[in-house]
Amino acid sequence: MANILETKQLTIQFGGHLAVNEVDFCVAEKEFKSIIGPNGAGKTTFFNLLSGQLTPTKGSIHLKGEDITSMPPPMRTRKGIGRSFQITNVFPNLTVLENVRLAVQSQMAIRYQMLSHFKKYKKVTEKSYELLKQVLLEDKANALATNLAHGEKRKLEIAMLLALETEILLLDEPTAGMSLEEVPAILKVIRNIKEEGKKNIILIEHKMDMILDLSDSVTVLFNGTLLADGTPKEIMENETVQTAYLGGMHNGHSA
């Protein structure tokens, strides 16, 4: 299987701190990959490098064989890398619908049209509603994003990501702060995408049951370096992972 995304010796340094250190990482086509690691291991930073929010000090990133190391973020999105954010990151004073619509619009490449576009608009709006339904937010469509409760914002975040219809989805703790009741719904959304088989998903999560359930393979980051890579089972059995990440209570336990 061809690797859709690959990094070589990817490194970034903040001052004296190596947040990501010579990471060789690859995702095969259609693979569901998870990244785990302690807080501050560099997972989010790694995502930032993949999506172009940060530029590496060293190393390279390849998307389907093409070197995209110095490509600006919007171009990467257009090339097929979409991401959600760990810290809720939406357009606060726009309505939920408008938030999603902006993403749909970008996906449909309606970017610089300055005058009139009513027909397409309708399509965009329709699609936005569809997405909101998917993430159980349709009744909040006209609320301002800033007024959503925390979990609702996370759902909006996911809807926006889905709207981009990128081949690769980078999900940074999509369910953090989401209530137990809604997690299964989101899980279902993610699983649907997985089963459709058109997308590559890279997931950062701390919820182990979710990781085990969904992933084809798991990468472990530790202090910026790649500690292990393997099937979920292998990883769970890895001793360092157990002591440094899972801790004692987790053995065999899943909530």
């Binding site: 999506s51 929010q53 600006p72 973020p73 919007p74 171009m75 999105t77 257009r78 979409g82 991401r83 954010f85 990151n89 939406v90 357009f91 606060p92 004073n93 726009l94 408008e98 619509r101 902006l102 993403a103 619009q105 970008s106 996906q107 309606i110 970017r111 610089y112 049209q113 300055m114 005058l115 009139s116 576009h117 397409k120 608009y121 926006m160 981009l164």
Partner: protein, 314 residues
């Protein structure tokens, strides 16, 4: 709209013409401030470019309609180029820094207009003749009115276009817009060009109405006028700046008029300042913005009631 022919009073006519011109200028500012979230302290730059281009061209040549139109085109081209270059240099900066840098650029233009005296006659400025057709104030008034309406419609269309909503997104959260696949800098520069060109047109009309131009068009005061009109009317509403321009000009006219009748209004500027203060206290989002807000609230209240009723019923 009021039927535009009824004004026998010339000063009302001039006042309205002035309002229309400043409404155009303020709308151009709103594209930056309200729709893209950029505070500029140097918007006078484009106003001044328009003013001087028209002034210089008409002063140096015959005041024909053709040349007048040419001067507008030339002004637009120059301001488009300038706003492109300035935008490229400045728009990467954040809020205050951007604002101060535009202030610096506008001041450099002001100094240039001061120093390049063979062209500009320094800060005294110069008078010039305008095309025969425009001399009639009613005609000119109608032209400004029509232009204002056209520009309002065009900008309204623009802000409601897909591109307009991207600008809003940038105003709200630049980084997020970028990660949705929008090239933020391009959008900002385009907004700044559109705004600059519109401001330039306002500048051309302004000098034409005065038949005179001097360095004051480049001053901070000119920018502040646009800024105040936009804020008082309501940022990001487009109609707001028009209302703001009207309100400020009329309040100004009215208060300074009172000074002649009532000695207590000799210091009318104090009352003028108080209007600004009260505007913020009672219309925190500007006049149009606040009214829209109240309307929305009412809608929500009604919505909420409906929802509650349903609940009780269900």
């Amino acid at each position: 709209m009021v039927i535009p022919f009824v004004y026998e009073s010339r000063s009302t006519l001039i006042l309205l013409t002035q309002i229309f011109i400043f409404a155009i200028f303020a709308m151009s500012y709103d594209i930056l401030l309200g729709f893209t979230g950029i505070v500029s302290f140097g918007h006078a730059m484009f106003f001044g470019i328009g003013a001087y281009t028209t002034g210089i061209l008409l002063q140096r040549t015959e005041p024909t309609m053709g040349l007048f139109l040419l001067s507008i085109v030339v002004g637009i081209v120059i301001s488009a180029v300038v706003s492109y270059i300035v935008g490229l240099m400045t728009l990467r900066l954040k809020s205050h820094f951007y604002a101060m840098l535009t202030l610096a650029f506008a001041s450099l233009f002001q100094v240039a207009s001061e120093k390049w005296r063979t062209l500009t006659f320094g800060n005294d400025g110069f008078t010039f003749r305008i095309p025969e057709v425009l001399i009639d104030r009613t005609t000119f008034y109608l032209i400004c009115l029509v232009l204002m309406i056209i520009i309002y419609c065009v900008l309204q269309r623009f802000t409601h276009s897909p591109m307009g909503s991207v600008l809003l997104a940038i105003r709200e959260n630049e980084q997020r817009a970028e990660s949705l696949g929008y090239k933020v800098l391009h959008y900002k520069i385009m907004a700044s060009i559109i705004s600059g060109v519109t401001a330039c047109l306002a500048g051309s009309l302004y000098t034409t109405s005065l038949r005179f131009v001097n360095t004051s068009v480049f001053t901070m005061d000119t920018t502040l006028d646009a800024l105040l009109m936009t804020i008082i009317g309501g940022v990001g509403t487009l109609l707001g700046p028009v209302i703001g321009a009207g309100l400020i000009e009329i309040a100004h006219h009215w208060l300074s008029g009172l000074a002649e009748k009532y000695p207590i209004f000799e210091r009318w500027i104090i009352f003028f300042g108080i209007i600004y203060i009260l505007a913020v206290m009672f219309f925190p989002k500007g006049i149009v913005g606040s009214i829209q807000g109240w309307k929305a609230e009412k809608r929500v209240k009604r919505g909420a009631n409906v929802k509650q009723e349903k609940k009780i019923a269900g």
